[in-house]
C-alpha cells in the first residue's frame, strides 16, 4: 500500500544542514491503522508532509498504491493527493466562508465530479459522520468536534485509499476526542488504511501498529492485538486525554 525506502529529507541553510528524516523506511499494508508518535522536532510533521505528498524529499523512493510517487510534478502530486489521500488536520482547516456541504465539495470539485455525483457523495459523507442535517451550516456555527467530523467527511468524500490524520484530536476535549477516535476506527474497519500522527502515546496505543520517530528515523514499532487493544484501552485513553486537557 505505502512503502518508503531510505527516504531522507535535508533542510539546508547557509550555516546548517538539518536532517529532518534519515534513511527512513516504512511499509504500511492495506487496511492497517498505524499511529506515528515521537517527541517534538523528531520529524513527525516532515514524515506526514512527505507521506501526503505535501512536500518533496531529498533521497529515497516512495511507492504509494504500487506507483512510484518520488518525483511527481506539482500537478501530478496534486492529483494523487486528491484521489488517493484523505487529510485530517489538527486545526480542521475548514474554509470559514463556505458552508459544510461546500467544504466537503472542495476536493470533489478539483476531481471534476458532476454536480449530481458531488451531491451524492457529500450527503453520504455527512451521513457517515452523523451530520446529515447540517449541510447549510457554516463551520463557525459548529463545535470543535463537529468541525473535525466535517473535516473527516471531507476526507472520506473522495473515497481515498488511505487517510492521513495529523493530531486529529489535538484541539478537542475528551468527549469529542473519543467520538472522533471511534469514527476513525469505524472507517478503518470498513477497509480504509489510516496513518495517524500524534504526540499522545495513549491514543497511539489504540492503533494496530505504533511507529516512533526519533531524530528522523523509525525507532521501534509494536504490534498490538487489534481487538484486545481497542477494548482494553478505552478508559485509559479517556483519562489521559482528560489529563492533557487539564
Amino acid at each position: 500500500m505505502l512503502s518508503m525506502k531510505n527516504i531522507s529529507k535535508v533542510f539546508k541553510t547557509d550555516l546548517v544542514e538539518t536532517h529532518a528524516l534519515r534513511d527512513f523506511n516504512l511499509e504500511v499494508n492495506e487496511g492497517e491503522f498505524v499511529a506515528v508518535t515521537g517527541p517534538s522536532g523528531s520529524g513527525k510533521t516532515t514524515f506526514l508532509n512527505i507521506a501526503g505528498l505535501l512536500e518533496g524529499f531529498t533521497h529515497g523512493d516512495y511507492f504509494l498504491d504500487g506507483i512510484n510517487v518520488s518525483n511527481l510534478s506539482d500537478n501530478k502530486s496534486a492529483a494523487v493527493r486528491n484521489e488517493k489521500i484523505g487529510f485530517i488536520f489538527q486545526g480542521f482547516n475548514l474554509i470559514p466562508d463556505l458552508n459544510l456541504a461546500e467544504n466537503i465539495e472542495v476536493p470533489l470539485r478539483y476531481r471534476g465530479f458532476s454536480a449530481k455525483e458531488r451531491k451524492r457523495r457529500v450527503e453520504q459523507a455527512l451521513e457517515q459522520v452523523g451530520l446529515g442535517a447540517r449541510m447549510k451550516h457554516l463551520p463557525t456555527q459548529l463545535s470543535g468536534g463537529q468541525q473535525q467530523r466535517v473535516a473527516i467527511a471531507r476526507a472520506l468524500a473522495g473515497e481515498p485509499r488511505f487517510l492521513l490524520a495529523d493530531e486529529p484530536t489535538g484541539n478537542l476535549d475528551s468527549l469529542m476526542a473519543r467520538q472522533v477516535m471511534e469514527l476513525l476506527e469505524n472507517i478503518n474497519q470498513s477497509g480504509t488504511t489510516i496513518i495517524m500522527v500524534t504526540h499522545d502515546p495513549e491514543l497511539a496505543r489504540r492503533a494496530q501498529r505504533n511507529i516512533q520517530i526519533v531524530d528522523g528515523q523509525v525507532c521501534d514499532f509494536t504490534m498490538y492485538q487489534p481487538n484486545a487493544a481497542r477494548s482494553a484501552s478505552h478508559s485509559s485513553v479517556d483519562k489521559l486525554v482528560a489529563n492533557a486537557q487539564g
Binding site: L54, F87, F89, I95, V106, R111
Partner: protein, 399 residues
C-alpha cells in the same frame, strides 16, 4: 473548471472588501466609458480633413497704414512679385485663412427676393484663379475661374463662384450645381465649379464643410495671402517675403506668417487639451483600479494562506488557485461592469442634458467592461501566481 457557486457564496459572505472593490469598478466603468467616448469624439473631430495640402501652405497678412496707397495696383504688383519668388508654387489673395477662427460667412438666398429660401451659413473665401492651386484643392466638377472673371469689388450683378461638394449635397441634393445661382441681397453668383473638400475658418461650427470661393479680389488695407511651397522652403520664405515686400513698398506691416498645420493645432487646441486630460484620467483611473484589485488580492492571499494550503493539500493544482482568484474577481467585474454600464449611460445622459455633448454610444461602456476584464486579469494574475506558490504543507502547520 470554473467553480462559480462556492466562490460566489464565499464572496457574498465576506464583508465590505469586495463591496468596495465593486463600487470602485462601477464608478470606474462609468467614468472611463464617458471619458473615452469624449476622447474618441474629439479625435474624430481632429481627424477631419481640411481638403488643403496642409504641409505646403502658409498664410501671412499685409497691413497698409498709409491711406494714400493704391491698394488695387499694389496688390497686383505684390502678387506678381510673390509668384516669381523661387520655391513658391503658387500664391492667392484671400479674405480669410482656413481654420483660423476668423473671417467671412453668409447665408446666401436661392433667389433675389427677400423671403427666398436661404442656404446654411457658408464660409466665404474671396480670391482669384490661383486659389485652387494655392491650397491644392481637388476640383471634382466644372472649372476654375478665368483670370478675366476676377473683379476687385462686389458687383451688383455678382460674379462666379466655386463651392464645396458638401454645400452642393446640402443645397441641391441629386442635382448638378453648375449654373445654379445664389444671392446676397440683389447680387448673384453663378456656380461654375465644385471642389471635393474645403473647410471654413471655424472648426467648431457645424457648417465647417460649407465653403464658397467668390471671384472677387477686393482691395483692403488689411489683407491676407496664401502661399504654397515645398515644406522645406517655407522657413526660408518667411524671411524672404517681408524683406521683398518692404523693399517694394515700405509703408506697411507684413506679418503673422502661419502655416495651415499651425492653424490646425491652434484650432483644435482645446479639443486636444480635453482629450489629453481625459486620457490622463482614463489611464490613471485604470491604474488605480488595478492597484485596488491587486491590493485586495494581496490582502486576501495573506488572509487565506492557510485556506490556500488546505486546498492545495486536498488536490488543487496551482492553476486552480490562480483561477480561483481570477474567477472571484471576474465575478466582481461582471457585476461591477453591468451596473457600471447602466451608471455610464446615466452619467452620459446627465452630461448630454447639461452640456452640448452628443449621446453616449453604447459600445463605449461595453468596451470599457472588456478593458476592465483585461486590466483585472493582469492585476489578479501577478499576485495570484504568488498565492499558487504557497506550499500545501502550510495545511499541517499549526497556527
Amino acid at each position: 473548471m470554473l467553480h462559480i457557486k462556492p466562490i460566489l457564496s464565499s464572496l457574498l459572505r465576506s464583508k465590505s472588501g469586495p463591496l468596495l472593490l465593486l463600487l470602485q469598478m462601477i464608478l470606474s466603468v462609468a467614468i472611463v466609458a464617458n471619458a473615452s467616448f469624449i476622447i474618441a469624439e474629439r479625435l474624430n473631430l481632429m481627424a477631419r480633413e481640411s481638403g488643403i495640402v496642409e504641409s505646403e501652405v502658409f498664410d501671412f497678412s499685409i497691413y497698409h497704414f498709409d491711406k494714400s496707397t493704391d491698394l488695387v495696383a499694389q496688390d497686383k504688383r505684390d502678387l506678381e512679385l510673390l509668384r516669381a519668388i523661387p520655391g513658391v508654387i503658387d500664391v492667392a489673395p484671400t479674405s480669410m485663412a482656413p481654420l483660423s477662427g476668423g473671417g467671412w460667412s453668409s447665408n446666401f438666398t436661392l433667389g433675389p427676393e427677400e423671403r427666398a429660401k436661404s442656404t446654411p451659413n457658408t464660409g466665404m473665401y474671396m480670391s482669384d484663379e490661383h486659389f485652387i492651386n494655392s491650397l491644392g484643392l481637388k476640383l471634382v466638377e466644372g472649372r476654375n475661374f478665368y483670370p478675366q472673371e476676377i473683379t476687385t469689388e462686389l458687383l451688383e450683378d455678382g460674379g462666379k463662384m466655386i463651392v464645396t461638394k458638401a454645400f452642393v449635397d446640402k443645397v441641391w441634393p441629386n442635382e448638378s450645381a453648375l449654373g445654379k445661382s445664389v444671392y446676397m441681397g440683389t447680387q448673384h453668383y453663378v456656380v461654375i465649379g465644385v471642389v471635393e473638400r474645403l473647410q471654413t475658418a471655424w472648426v467648431d461650427n457645424s457648417n465647417l464643410e460649407f465653403s464658397s470661393v467668390l471671384s472677387v479680389n477686393y482691395p483692403a488695407d488689411y489683407k491676407r495671402y496664401l502661399v504654397r511651397a515645398k515644406p522645406s522652403d517655407i522657413a526660408r520664405l518667411k524671411g524672404v517675403i517681408p524683406e521683398l515686400l518692404h523693399k517694394e513698398y515700405p509703408s506697411r506691416v507684413v506679418e503673422d506668417f502661419t502655416t495651415i498645420a499651425e492653424r490646425r493645432i491652434e484650432a483644435y487646441r482645446d479639443h486636444e487639451l480635453m482629450a489629453t486630460v481625459l486620457t490622463m484620467m482614463v489611464v490613471l483611473l485604470l491604474l488605480i483600479t488595478s492597484l485596488g484589485v491587486t491590493g485586495m488580492v494581496m490582502f486576501n492571499i495573506q488572509r487565506r494562506t492557510k485556506q490556500i494550503g488546505t486546498r492545495r493539500a486536498l488536490g488543487a493544482k496551482k492553476r486552480d488557485i490562480i483561477s480561483y482568484f481570477l474567477v472571484e474577481n471576474y465575478l466582481l467585474c461582471l457585476l461591477g461592469g453591468g451596473i457600471g454600464v447602466l451608471l455610464a449611460i446615466q452619467l452620459g445622459q446627465q452630461l448630454m442634458s447639461l452640456y452640448s455633448l452628443p449621446m453616449l454610444e453604447i459600445i463605449y461602456p461595453l468596451l470599457t467592461v472588456v478593458g476592465l476584464f483585461a486590466v483585472t486579469t493582469l492585476a489578479v494574475y501577478l499576485p495570484a501566481r504568488k498565492a499558487a506558490k504557497i506550499s500545501p504543507a502550510t495545511a499541517t502547520r499549526s497556527v
